[in-house]
Symmetry: C2
Subunit: 327 residues, 2 copies
């Protein structure tokens, strides 16, 4: 029996899974974020090792038993060092494959080899997959260069709108009280804007970039009742649709898999993006997925020569779902 260790490293959490070539899962564990650009190579190594260790223990397997190891993650060049170091420290001697986190998201949603994926979590990006590999990508170069419609992008607009409101440079918005409360700023509006802004400055600049993405949910909370919040979310929807429409679908019925913490949890945004994509001529099905773990399993299996058809895809999905419900 071939033993597979599959790791799915996201910006906010990292999942490790031990399974066999039928996609039957025997160990599963979750640890902290594993995005090397955001967290640094050393912390990635620690997180990977910790998640893999827990999953192997749960499966009753030794690190040396692993035949095939694959990690799906962003920023593969830096990531490779961190993951390899982490797994070597653990005693995994199988050669490590690195896969794209965006492909993992795509293969979570479909056993097909052609289609597209759109992700919005801390960052945002889209890819076109053809014959099982990434053919083209759009956006996804991090908080400084784009990631339009991502958690960071939304949160950055929130903190700027709040600062402008307090300065009376911009419109009043319900986001102000919400952000001041969420960020832990003390004293109400009566304290005076400089007192509030000085605290906001201290708190927000102390959060390593792009960690302010944690405040993105505020914009969704007020999107229907507050004009400023509504405009931020509308802008995110437009940006995400443009990111996809800049790509060419491999066929008219190619599925678009959408995921990431923002797109998966915010049904309203997902509906808006879907509508804009329909208006823009995108014809394939649009399917949401929670993360890239199942897709990373599929990639690990395929690298090992296992043919993953719809039946095996469904089987692995069920097994993953069962082991998750037990954890």
């Amino acid at each position: 029996m071939t033993l597979f260790l599959t790791i799915d490293a996201g910006g906010t959490s990292t999942r490790a899974l031990v399974h066999d070539s039928d996609g039957a899962c025997t160990g599963y564990a979750v640890a902290g974020g594993g995005n090397p650009t955001a967290s640094g190579v050393e912390s990635v190594a620690n997180v990977m090792r910790s998640a893999a260790d827990d999953a192997l223990q749960q499966a009753g397997a030794q690190p040396g038993d692993v035949d095939c190891a694959l990690a799906a993650m962003a920023g593969s060049a830096v990531g490779l060092t961190g993951v390899e170091r982490g797994l070597q420290q653990l005693g995994v001697s199988a050669p490590l494959r690195i896969g794209s986190d965006l492909e993992a998201m795509f293969f979570t949603g479909t056993p097909q080899l052609d289609g597209a994926a759109l992700v919005s979590g801390t960052g945002a990006a889209a890819i076109v997959v053809q014959d099982g590999v990434t053919k083209a990508r759009s956006d996804g170069r991090g908080w400084l260069l784009g990631d339009v419609g991502s958690g960071y992008w939304i949160a950055h607009r929130v903190v700027r709108a709040v600062t402008a409101d307090l300065d009376a440079r911009g419109p009043r918005t319900a986001l102000t009280d919400a952000l001041l409360h969420a960020a832990g700023v003390t004293g109400g509006r009566s304290a005076g804007k400089d007192v509030l802004l000085d605290q906001l400055v201290s708190i927000l600049y102390a959060i390593p970039t792009p960690g302010i993405a944690r405040f993105a949910p505020l914009a969704f909370e007020f999107a229907d009742s507050d004009l400023v919040a509504g405009e931020i979310i509308a802008g995110a929807a437009e940006g995400l649709a443009e990111t996809v429409l800049a790509l060419h679908a491999p066929s008219d019925d190619a599925p678009l898999i959408v995921g990431g913490s923002i797109l998966f949890h915010q049904d309203g945004l997902r509906a808006d993006v879907a509508q804009l994509l329909r208006d823009g001529g995108w014809t394939g099905d649009i399917l949401p997925v929670p993360d890239g773990t199942l897709g990373a399993v599929v990639m690990n299996l395929r690298v090992a020569g296992v043919e993953v058809d719809a039946a095996l895809h469904g089987q692995a999905r069920k097994s993953l779902s069962v082991i998750r419900s037990r954890n």
Copy 2:
């Protein structure tokens, strides 16, 4: 004779000046950037010490001879530690006063005690000065929270527009070739966008925030010939005008002093902002200044009880201009 040491610390350079109570300058030196939030306390201490040392040597004075020391800078709380340490290491025993860099800009432009100042350099902010002290401020909380129309703000839009262009998510813009060249990306458009973007990612993320402000001049270069660049500059002008118009002028004829590397060097932007301010009902004179050095001298003199009228202001301006032309 009272010996004054005046320091004007900006984001990109720090100026130290030795002068007497008549504003007659005997020593002048320039060193690197002195913004404590951008450069860190230790580097601020080094820069201050180096500039002060050079200026004192030129004046033929000893550090122990200094009677009155004042440093004008942003982020005074952190700055104080750095400057004090720097000057103490040098042997200056006079108590150090810290002044606002925005007030220094204001007092460079006028001997009056009432008016306003608008600065756009790496950051951007406006203040209202009444009876010689800051009465209200607008924006200026750094790259994350605003600084609308600043060098960072403009450059951030440039790098995003270029990334969107390369992705074909956004319009084509002349900024793309210009930024790729300025940032040192090798291989032309024919190299393929992923090759170019990978390099751009490596180069831009390696620049400590908000250092990408150095690319802001590209937007000005193409503002008249390129739609994307033109929109960025128009947005900067609108943002800067809003920053001022959120404040209340202390009187109808109160002067507005405008400065900072962006506003001082970009005549077109300054004219656009002036027009928007007129349209918005701002009536006082709008006067550009190159930096806050003269104003810091004025602040140092006033703290020591010297009355700075128009005659002394003009005298100090001339003396500063003479010593600068010799350096």
